[in-house]
């Protein structure tokens, strides 16, 4: 189990992390989700030992590793831009972690070669061992980076926006494949991303971060259905936010009921097809605030200027500090 207690980190006068507490169980796949500047990468690097915290501890299985240099923590780190050694072949890259070991931990050259081949097979890059990174595609390079990190049999796998530099299609494929690999190898993984779709799809639990603080920790379902703060509510999934007397009302575009006596009325400004629904954009009668609604295509396409009455479901109210009021608005 990996634990983080009271981690605080400052860069000059800028506070990147404020007292972070987190527990990660073995074999969990955790996503650190947040916008840029939220501190998620800093936290990841502190866990790896690539940054030092100002206060707090990092515990691997109960033992504080804060004083342990990165080279001795046995964490596998996958960088956003791969950081492959350009002057070495793919196989040499993968075997690097094994080739720098000394003394008893060192294995024979043959063993290293076999292990590298095994890992390349695992990441489906069999036969490419003699190539140089410059000759591979982005997706292939990322898989080499992964194989290289796995070669040292890490107790923890850390990934810093690993798919950020790739095309959408490649990203989707690799996502799925990473999840399968994680399960098959029984790894413990922490994954940093700003893409909430990615986080919700892959993670066992999601840690939503903003401005150096944890906003909420929960399963993807919990995060989506029960956001605890206004930030989580509008960062994860699509959200309409309406100012009201009691605070801010949040509801999802698809969480509406079209009823004649609905509490809200929208004047249609724009309509287009979005997957299996009509996406309606418009302003609320009265307050003039902008909302987006999803209406099933079983209904006929709404016309411009038409008024639609509806009632939001599962709406959440947040006060001025982003904390929730109780109760649904009906």
């Amino acid at each position: 189990m990996i634990s983080v207690r009271g981690i605080t980190k400052r860069f000059g006068t800028y506070a990147a992390l404020h007292g972070i507490d987190l527990d990660i169980q073995t074999c969990e796949f955790i996503a650190l989700l947040g916008p840029s500047g939220s501190g998620k990468t800093t936290l990841l690097r502190i866990i790896a030992g690539l940054e030092f915290q100002d206060c707090g501890e990092v515990l691997f299985n109960g033992k504080d590793v804060s004083s342990l240099p990165v080279a001795q923590r046995r964490v596998g780190f996958v960088f956003q831009h791969y950081a492959l050694f350009r002057h070495m072949t793919v196989a040499e890259n993968v075997a690097f972690g094994l080739s720098v070991r000394k003394g008893k931990a060192r294995i024979s050259k043959t063993a290293m070669r076999l292990r590298a081949e095994e890992l390349l097979r695992l990441v489906q890059l069999e036969g490419l061992g003699a190539r140089y990174p410059a000759q591979l595609s982005g997706g292939q390079r990322q898989r080499v980076a992964l194989a290289r990190a796995l070669a040292i049999e890490p107790q923890l796998l850390l990934l810093d926006e690993p798919f950020g530099a790739l095309d959408a299609k490649v990203r989707k494929d690799l996502r799925r494949w990473l999840r399968d690999l994680h399960k098959a190898m029984g790894l413990t993984s922490i994954f940093v991303t700003h893409d909430q779709e990615e986080a919700l799809e892959l993670a066992d639990r999601v840690v939503v971060m903003d401005h150096g603080r944890i906003q909420q920790i929960g399963t993807p379902d919990e995060i989506y259905m029960n956001p605890q703060t206004s930030f989580v509510s509008h960062f994860v999934g699509e959200t309409n936010r309406i100012a009201a007397a009691t605070g801010e009302v949040h509801f999802r575009p698809h969480d509406i009921e079209l009823v004649a006596n609905g509490s809200e009325t929208v004047v249609v400004d724009n309509v287009f097809r979005k997957g299996g629904v009509w996406r309606v954009e418009g302003l609320l009668e009265g307050s003039g605030q902008f909302v987006e609604l999803d209406i099933d295509t079983a209904h006929s396409q709404p016309a411009l200027g038409e008024t639609i009455r509806f009632r939001p479901h599962r709406a959440r109210i947040f006060n001025a500090y982003g904390a929730p009021h109780q109760g649904e608005k009906s």
């Binding site: 990165v70 080279a71 831009h81 050694f85 350009r86 690097f96 720098v100 070991r101 410059a134 040292i152």
Partner: protein, 283 residues
């Protein structure tokens, strides 16, 4: 002046911008006049000498001694600069210390300082009663008027080539690759040896080759400190000047031709290094 060119002249792609004829024509003319024709004269004259005479003069014992001296000291100085130039580049790129900007600017001094000034300054320092020479004399190390002095002068001349070749590559290296090596368990020394050094290798080699090429042809900074004794401390460029002063044009030309050939070979080598490294390194 728009690019409506007759078909025959369309050896280049037509373009929107004007002025190609003028700029290209002038460039070619100036280049030919100032560079190509004068340089060609060497080879024409050398060719006009006939094989026998050329070999006799270009490889006479005195000339051979001069080549050995010029190439030898240039290589030695290049090596010294490769090691210390790397050190200087490393310190300038990686570390902070007071006065770093001044030091960085000073590295270009050999580029900016006239060679004759460098020559007399170094001689003043290393002659037997010079600032440094006075301490080395008693312990038997003679610098001025020996090949060692020539090497010292060439170290001065060649330093910026190595430092400025290596610096950009070091800067480019970025910390991610070193961090990756660290996460995989490498010590700092292992990271330097296995990851950093191979990456800057081509740049280091290029810097060495540039310093070497410059050192072989260097004149002003060397002739004051070298003593200029034929067969012992006479560098090849000086031999050319001596031949000229005796109106032995053939001799001067022959030696010049040999030196130019060597320079071209080094240039070729540099281009080769850069080409092969680019093939493997471009991400």
């Amino acid at each position: 002046m728009h690019a409506i060119t007759p078909r025959a002249a369309r050896w280049r792609q037509p373009s929107v911008l004007p002025g190609f004829g003028l700029s290209f024509g002038f460039t070619l003319a100036w280049l030919t006049l100032i560079v190509l024709i004068p340089l060609a004269t060497i080879f024409l004259k050398a060719a006009g000498m006939g094989w026998q005479e050329f070999l006799a003069v270009a490889f006479s014992p005195r000339a051979m001694a001069a080549y050995r001296l010029s190439f030898g000291t240039a290589a030695m100085a290049g090596l010294v600069n490769a090691v210390f130039g790397l050190l200087v580049a490393w310190v300038l790129v990686r570390y902070e210390f007071p006065g770093k900007k001044v030091v960085s600017a000073l590295v270009d001094l050999p580029f900016a300082l006239p060679t004759a000034v460098a020559g007399i300054a170094l001689t003043a320092l290393y002659s037997p009663n010079g600032w440094i020479g006075q301490y080395l004399e008693p312990i038997g190390i003679k610098v001025a008027f020996t090949p060692i002095g020539i090497t010292v002068a060439l170290v001065f001349i060649g330093l910026p080539f190595v430092v400025r070749s290596v610096e950009p590559v070091l800067e480019d290296l970025g910390k991610e690759v070193e961090e990756a090596a660290a996460t995989l368990g490498a010590t700092r020394w292992q990271t330097f040896l296995l990851v950093i050094l191979p990456t800057i290798g081509p740049a280091l080699l290029t810097g060495f080759a540039l310093a070497f090429a410059r050192g072989v042809g260097e004149y002003g900074s060397v002739i004051f400190i070298s003593g200029n004794m034929p067969g012992r401390t006479e560098i090849a460029p000086l031999l050319i000047v001596t031949q000229l002063e005796q109106y032995a044009y053939a001799g001067a030309t022959a030696i010049a031709a040999v030196m130019m050939l060597a320079s071209f070979l080094v240039l070729l080598l540099i281009n080769l290094i850069q080409a092969t490294s680019r093939l493997r390194m471009v991400p």
